[in-house]
């Protein structure tokens, strides 16, 4: 249950049993070809995989350096990579005979993905969401309800993702016998970080195959944004043994020299959050601090333990991008390629765009376009209304 020094199961005793049950079921499922077949069948037939690999010719020309490719997770059903994992875990829940799932959500993307698979597979679904996030993400709340899920408002703490996750774990502690907790990122106690990565690695597996088809070699650099880090782990994992340089991009919010950011690896320290030993943002007393990012999906004080390991071993380079840089990259991609990315994704874009120009024209870049920007329209309107 470790990635080097990180990971583990730092949970109340009551969860040790359910986690063992989960791990046993997961290991069994992963060795069962029928489970893989069903998972991949649903990904293809329902979620619309494989997602496209798009050559971004205009922006490549504009930046004048490396050829830039985009892995189009925005084309996944419900608009982001989140569904890959939700499908995998829902199938596992069914296999374990659990008919009720719980999930935490910040901006609502994982909540929508969970509500979606609950509807599709006939499970009851309860989504924990901070009351502040419920206020900010009214549309996604409605979407979850329309899908038949119950949205539980969490008023503890600041009413955001961290608090929703705490509350989901607490609820699971009390109801673990018949509830499956569907975690949305590569965080949480073992075996979650591994499981979520394994349900997201389809991104990297497909990318590798597609990239080799069009370029006959692997990309020189691969970029992905990192909040909890599931889209990045899904993309990076199949490339870990290859030469490709891997770059994870955190949210620098208003700047990493201000208190308002979510750059966990860049500015945080090792500790325990949500059951896992990893890096997190905390004060000198070990109290977890509130992160900030314009992007709700990156606005998380922790990070998956495997990222902490890849940071420590330097296999992945971690950078951070401010709100403003992300918004600029979002506009550039939109105007050049006709693709409005999620603000989360725009962090990865911004870092890649920064570096692409100084790379040579025979080098290549792969960016994980983790989600579409439809959910961010209200935020974008606030920021761009005067300009457009």
């Amino acid at each position: 249950g470790r990635f080097g020094d990180f990971g583990g199961k730092y949970v109340p005793e009551t969860l040790m049993g359910p986690l063992q049950e989960l791990e046993d079921a997961l290991d069994q499922a992963m060795e069962d070809q029928a489970f893989h077949d069903e998972y991949h069948h649903v990904l293809e037939e329902y979620a619309g995989r494989p997602t496209a690999l798009t050559y971004a010719d205009k922006i490549s020309d504009y930046l004048g350096g490396a050829k830039i490719y985009l892995k189009r997770e925005d084309l996944n059903h419900t608009g982001a990579h989140k569904l890959n994992n939700a499908i995998g875990q829902a199938l596992l829940a069914k296999r374990m005979g659990k008919e009720k799932i719980i999930a935490e959500t910040g901006a609502g993307q994982h909540g929508v993905a969970s509500a979606t698979v609950a509807a599709k597979f006939g499970l009851k679904c309860k989504v924990f969401m901070g009351e502040e996030d419920i206020r900010r993400q009214e549309l996604n709340v409605f979407r979850m309800k329309l899908l038949g899920a119950e949205v539980v408002s969490v008023s503890s703490g600041n009413g955001t993702l961290k608090d929703a996750t705490n509350e989901a774990i607490r609820y699971w502690v009390a109801n673990c016998e018949d509830h499956f907790y569907l975690i949305g990122s590569v965080v949480g106690p073992h075996p979650y970080p591994r499981m979520v990565r394994d349900f997201q690695r389809v991104i990297g597996d497909e990318s590798k195959k597609q990239f080799l088809e069009v370029e006959q070699e692997l990309p020189n650099r691969i970029y992905a944004c990192v909040g909890g880090g599931s889209n990045a782990m899904g993309m990076f994992y199949p490339f870990l043994e290859d030469d490709a340089e891997l770059i994870g991009v955190e949210a620098a919010g208003r700047g990493i020299d201000t208190p308002e950011h979510a750059a966990t690896l860049t500015k945080g320290a090792p500790g325990v959050i949500h059951g896992s030993l990893t890096y997190l943002m905390q004060d000198d007393n070990g109290q977890i601090t509130e992160p900030y990012s314009i992007s709700a999906g990156l606005d998380y004080p922790g990070i998956g333990p495997e990222h902490a390991h890849l940071f420590q071993t330097k296999r992945v380079r971690y950078e951070s991008i401010t709100d403003k840089e992300a918004l600029d990259a979002l506009r550039l991609l939109t105007e050049c390629e006709g693709i409005i990315p999620a603000i989360e994704t725009a962090h990865a874009l911004a870092q890649a765009f920064k570096e692409a120009g100084s790379m040579s024209k025979d080098e290549t870049i792969l960016i994980n376009l983790s989600g579409r920007g439809d959910k961010d329209m209200a935020t974008l309107m606030e920021h761009f209304e005067e300009e457009v």
Binding site: E13, T14, M16, N166, R170, Q287
Partner: protein, 266 residues
């Protein structure tokens, strides 16, 4: 079968234990001292002194509120430990168990944490998010400092019950029901069978916590276990007195608190 010399010999009883829980600094360090002394007066055998934490995963809303009050009052792991000599100075003689989530301990560093505990004469430590499998190092350190590392065991610990119980120190914290603190107590036949099984393996007293909130609960627990742990209910009793405390009527608040505790554990 029970060992007698736990908590550096300070806990000689091995049954009918009353183990109350307070959040250090809720609503202020001085009130924590006052409440602790009243609890001792009412027969407390061990004090669980909780360190407030931003993200208390094992706790329900009551203890979350208490933690928020204490954090707002500036409490920290270090300050909570340093409160122990103050408690002693005011007359607390029963053993004190520092109850803290793991992250503040990690932040401080294991070595510094145990030095602090030792310097301040703390007899026990309980880390609710550090299960048996993750606590080997810290259990070793605790043992070497003669500080009891309190383990928890739950009805769904299953094949791990034996392992946890056999390795228990001080007392064994038996989670009577699945859930976070402050829930409802449901002493079913299953719970009783579970307690019985735990007692078979445990060399230390078995105390039952989670959801003990009425005198009736206390009586049932006493009947089957070696001790009763009361947390959220005590916090709620403190909350009942907050208005009085804030308006300066501290002695009235303490008197009323004492009466309620007496009623609860009679």
């Amino acid at each position: 079968m029970l060992t007698k010399t736990s908590f550096q010999g300070k806990l000689e009883k091995t049954e009918d234990l009353f183990i109350p829980f307070l959040v250090a600094g809720d609503p202020s360090p001085s009130m924590t001292i006052a409440f602790a002394l009243r609890l001792q007066q009412q027969g407390a055998d061990v004090l669980e002194l909780g360190v407030p934490y931003s993200d208390p995963l094992a706790d329900g809303p009551t203890i979350q509120r208490a933690a928020r009050r204490a954090l707002n009052a500036g409490m920290s792991l270090r300050k909570a430990i340093e409160l122990v000599p103050q408690l002693r100075k005011h007359g607390l003689t029963i053993p004190v168990v520092i109850f803290t989530y793991y992250n503040p301990v990690l932040r401080l560093g294991h070595d510094q944490f145990f030095e602090l505990l030792e310097e301040n004469g703390v007899e026990g430590v309980l880390i609710p998010d550090l299960p048996f499998e993750e606590s080997e190092e810290i259990r070793g350190q605790a043992e070497s400092k003669d500080i009891e590392f309190i383990s928890l065991v739950a009805p769904n610990s299953e094949q791990r019950i034996k392992q946890i119980a056999e390795n228990a120190k001080g007392f064994l914290y038996c989670v009577s029901t699945l859930g976070v603190t402050g829930g409802e107590n449901k002493m079913t036949g299953e719970s009783l069978a579970f307690i019985k099984k735990v007692k078979e393996y445990s060399p230390v007293p078995v105390a039952v916590g989670f959801g003990v909130s009425t005198n009736e609960d206390v009586k049932i627990v006493r009947e089957h276990a070696d001790g009763v742990i009361i947390g959220s209910k005590i916090i709620r009793l403190i909350e009942n007195e907050l208005d009085k405390i804030n308006s300066g009527e501290k002695s009235g608040a303490l008197k009323s608190f004492s009466n309620s505790i007496a009623e609860l554990v009679k």
